[in-house]
Amino acid sequence: MKKILLFLFLTCGNLAAQDREQINWLSWEQLEDALNEEPKKTFVFFHADWCAYCKKIDRVVFTKPEVIKKINAEYYTVRMDAETTDTIRFDGQTFTNRQALTKRNGVHDLALLLGSRPEKSFSLPVTLFFDEQFALKQRVFEYYTSSELLKILEQ
């Protein structure tokens, strides 16, 4: 009986803890260190203030316990405002937002590098999936639901 109670207690505690869990977002610098220490798959998400679909993913998809669990267990994750004006060091290079010097909603060089498509305007959201060698496996340029995301993460 005691064991059952203890089990229930632990399970409930676990569930409650899971509800509050979040995806462990890393900065690019942290990602570099982490990859150097232990290679793992990487998940990168670009968003912006005005991007309604990005917000939807943030609020609805990234808050689902099964998504959080899967991502935190198997991926390093980076979430970046594509319009940030911060200087980012990654992989021995320095990236800045040069577009922001001349225009509104300028896109950061790193976002352009990773999220541009020929013949198409840079659009958000952009989600990238890398393997353990940090080789790009897939790029997604649109909104996805949690089940669609889980399917990609499984691959």
């Binding site: 990859l35 150097n36 220490e37 232990e38 290679p39 309604a52 679909y53 917000k55 939807k56 609020r59 609805v60 998809v61 992989d91 021995g92 040069r98 577009q99 010097l101 001349t102 225009k103 509104r104 909603n105 300028g106 896109v107 060089d109 352009l112 590098l113 990773l114 541009s116 498509r117 020929p118 013949e119 198409k120 305007s121 840079f122 659009s123 060698q133 940090f134 080789a135 790009l136 909104y143 639901t145 949690s146």
Partner: protein
């Protein structure tokens, strides 16, 4: 430390390889091979030279100072494209002939350059792109009834964003429209606050108002409807001046106002409340709520909204009679959608509006005990369904829709009129009326995009409008049934890169069956008519900066009671009625427009200048002629008659300037003339008074020759914003009843400058909760009409100029928005 030495190489080696693969896009490989094997051998005369006859050209894309990564470089008239790398560098393989390259990058203006590749064998080919700040690439719907980039639209479309509504502290749509070139909103009645929008100087009935591109506004909604739409549900309003908008109905003679409501993606909610104090004393309170829920897979969603507004009556000259009407409005609505799959969407709209307005004197008493009361209690319900279907390749698009609007209205237009006799009392007790209005619209639209970028749009539309308005006490009846069936087709033709033509026509079959009665006068309208209205618009790009647009549109209106004809006002203590004259003929219009649009950046400063000329001729225009107090009970009767031909001609200049990100300035001014070919009688004297003769003029009344606006938006910091807006109304002729026979004098009104300032402070309490405080002053210089009539015998239509005197306002807005 488990450092993998290959990591760095791997990662960037990988980036390079991805983009290398994507560098050359050949959509139709066969097409490209044709270019190589057919044209070049012909040019060079030997087949083996074809491979050698291409040039490798290197260069860089930059904004002048810094390289622009990943710009796309397309070769015009082929499907070949290249992409620059992360440092803006590119290498192109070009044929040995003059080519036009199109260089595109997001946030920059598209650049086209024609060059001879052989000249760049040893010199680098550098492109400098300019940023796009003024939102010229905004997407608009109205111009051709398909979504189109604003700059590519052959018809000039002005877009009003919610930002502008907020800047002007607009509670309803009617308030916000003043800040557009060529648009003027005016109040026409002190008793009931009847407003109308005038586009290019033509009255409200010449403008077609659309809700989500559909004509659901009936003649009755046109009277007060603009004040019944809460701003909080509006995503944007698109204004098309003049009849160039090919397919938006035969009555869109002055233009089209298309109200587009919001389409939510995220769950959100918002509460906002405003308090305005008209002249510092008379309160105008409002509360708006709206919330959206959208499912995770975006397949279903709903937006719910509600508005409450309560404005007290305002009396400008302390005579006990209102200049601004008491108004209470409760609106409640929902907009839902369902997407069964990626290629189709089903939408539903529901809105219920309960609006009460009352003006006159002693608003606390029952209307029959007052001298003048106009009291209107509207209960309106809109319901709409629409269905959209795309083919898998998105080249064909089908839309079907149906909307129903029903209004029940209790009215009181009457009062003792300054008298206290038994007859006055009987009349006052019999001024209650009842109106029912039913409007039904249904249509199907089909759009096909061809491979050469031409677009064909065709459709049909059925409209029914049934209005019954009865005031037994005056023996007044309007019983009107209008059926119209429209068939339209339009072809968007792009034979050259610089040139686009919209060629279209509309066939309307209209059937009006109306019975109109006031006291002992009966009139009928029994019209069955089929009219073909051709429309043509062209766009020519002289350069990337300079565009020419020109258009011709024909329009017509069949004789029927329009919004103004359903409105009853008071003068001399009696009512003023409008009735259609016998043998009224259809009105036709020919509208011509031509414009030049120049947009240019000087370093970081962006400017745009539009000069537009318009010329509209009217044949048989409907106009109101007062026959004085010719009715048996002493009321004034105005007849809607066919006037002589007329024209409206003018120029609008619009200027936009954005010196930096934080500052935006817009201004527009219109000069125009609105002239009848012959002098028109506005008042027909009955000869009883020797001093009163016919009043004639060849000018349109209530139409100023000069009017304009400006607005300035300054983002001081992320949380602080300043708006300064203004609208100018020049002098005009306003009819003023000055004798108890109904005799009118044409008064020349002064000009007005209505300036408003607003400060907004924004705070993020939490990621999901934002608060905004705002406050400001409307009509800072108190530029307001000074010569209102006094007392029970006043002419209630003698009102012109800005809608309110100096007023202060405060607002709070909070929510997850």
């Amino acid at each position: 430390m488990l450092i993998k030495p290959t990591f760095i190489l791997l990662s960037f080696g990988l980036f390079t390889s991805i983009f290398a693969q994507e560098k050359i896009i050949i959509n139709h490989p066969e097409a490209n091979q044709h270019v190589n094997s057919k044209e070049q051998p012909l040019a060079s005369g030997q087949a083996s030279a074809s491979i050698n006859n291409t040039y490798r050209v290197k260069g860089q894309v930059s904004d002048g100072a810094n390289p622009i990564p990943f710009a796309n470089i397309l070769i015009s008239n082929t499907s070949m494209g290249f992409s620059a790398d992360g440092d803006g560098n590119f290498e192109l393989e070009l044929p040995d002939e003059s080519v036009t390259l199109i260089v595109q990058a997001i946030g920059f203006k598209t650049l086209r350059e024609t060059l001879i590749p052989s000249e760049y064998q040893n010199t680098p080919l550098n492109f400098t792109l300019k940023p796009d700040l003024l939102g010229l690439e905004e997407v608009v719907v109205s111009a051709t009834r398909n979504r189109l980039s604003k700059k590519k639209a052959p018809v000039i479309v002005n877009v009003l964003s919610p930002k502008l509504f907020k800047a002007t502290q607009s509670i309803s749509l009617a308030d916000g429209l003043n800040y557009q070139p060529g648009v003027r909103v005016e109040t026409n009645c002190q008793n009931c606050g009847f407003t109308q929008v005038r586009l290019n100087g033509l009255g409200g009935q010449y403008t077609q108002v659309l809700l989500n591109s559909r004509p659901v506004f009936s003649a009755l909604n046109g009277v007060y409807g603009l004040e019944q739409i809460p701003v909080s549900i509006i995503d944007r309003v698109e204004v098309v001046r003049s009849g160039g908008s090919a397919l938006f109905g035969s009555s869109a003679i002055a233009g089209t106002i298309n109200i587009i409501t919001k389409e939510p993606v995220n769950n959100s909610w918002e509460v906002n409340s405003n308090l305005g104090l008209i002249d510092g004393t008379t309160p105008d309170r409002s509360l708006n709520l709206n919330a959206s829920i959208v499912s995770e897979d975006l397949s279903t969603g709903v937006t719910l909204y509600g508005m409450y507004r309560n404005r007290d009556a305002y009396d400008a000259n302390d005579d006990g009679f209102s200049e601004i009407t008491k108004l209470t409005n409760n609106s409640l609505g929902a907009k839902a959608f369902y997407r069964p799959n990626d290629n189709s969407k089903l939408g539903f709209d529901f809105t219920a509006i309960k609006e009460y307005r009352r003006g006159g004197d002693r608003i606390e008493l029952a209307p029959q005990f007052t001298d003048i009361t106009e009291e209107l209690d509207h209960n309106t319900l809109f319901t709409g369904v629409d269905y959209e279907l795309f083919t898998d390749d998105r080249t064909t698009h089908l839309t079907a829709y149906a909307s129903v609007q029903h209004t029940d209205r209790d009215s009181y237009y009457g009062g003792l009129g300054g008298g206290r006799t038994r007859a006055d009392s009987t009349a006052a007790n019999n001024a209650f009326g009842k109106t029912t209005d039913l409007a039904f619209v249904s249509g199907v639209k089909f759009t096909r995009n061809f491979k050469n970028n031409d677009v064909l749009t065709s459709g049909f539309e059925y409209q029914l409008n049934d209005t019954e308005d009865a005031i037994p006490g005056y023996n007044r009846i309007v019983d009107q049934n209008v059926n119209s069936f429209g068939l339209y087709s339009q072809y968007e033709w792009k034979p050259l890169e610089r040139f686009t033509a919209l060629i279209g026509a509309r066939l309307d079959h209209i059937d009006v069956d109306g019975f109109y009665q006031i006291q002992d006068i009966n009139r009928t309208s029994d019209v069955t008519q089929t009219v073909l209205s051709p429309r043509l618009t062209v766009l020519y790009n002289f350069t990337e900066d300079l565009q020419f647009r020109g258009g011709y549109a024909r329009g017509f209106r069949a004789p029927q009671a329009f919004n103004e004809d359903l409105h009853i006002s008071s003068v001399g203590g009696e009512q003023r009625f409008v009735i259609l004259s016998d043998a009224l003929e259809s009105e036709f219009s020919n509208a011509y427009t031509a414009s030049l649009n120049y947009s240019k950046e000087f370093k970081k400063v962006q400017t745009s200048l539009l000069v537009e000329g318009f010329y509209t001729t009217l044949e048989n225009p409907f106009m109101l002629v007062s026959t004085g107090t010719s009715l048996p009970n002493g009321s004034i009767l105005e007849e809607s008659r066919n006037g002589s031909g007329a024209y409206v001609a003018g120029t609008t200049i619009e200027f936009n300037l954005s010196p930096s990100k934080a500052l935006l300035f817009q201004a527009g001014i219109t000069w125009q003339r609105s002239i009848y070919d012959e002098d028109q009688v506005l008042f027909e004297a009955d000869g009883t008074s020797p001093t009163e003769t016919d009043v004639v003029t060849d000018q349109f009344v209530r139409s100023p020759n000069v009017y304009g606006f400006f607005n300035t938006n300054w983002t001081v910091s992320e949380s602080f914003n300043v708006d300064l807006t203004g609208s100018y109304t020049g002098t005009m002729l306003a009819p003023h009843v000055i004798s108890d026979t109904g005799f009118i004098k044409l008064e020349e009104t002064p000009d007005f400058m209505d300036v408003a300032a607003k400060l907004t402070y924004h705070m993020d309490l939490d990621e999901h909760l934002h608060v905004e405080f705002s406050g400001g002053v409307q009509n800072i210089f108190d530029s307001y009409q000074q010569d209102f009539d006094l007392g029970a015998l006043r002419d209630s239509d003698y009102i012109y100029g800005p809608n309110r005197p100096r007023s202060v306002f405060f607002g709070i807005r909070f929510g997850d928005f």
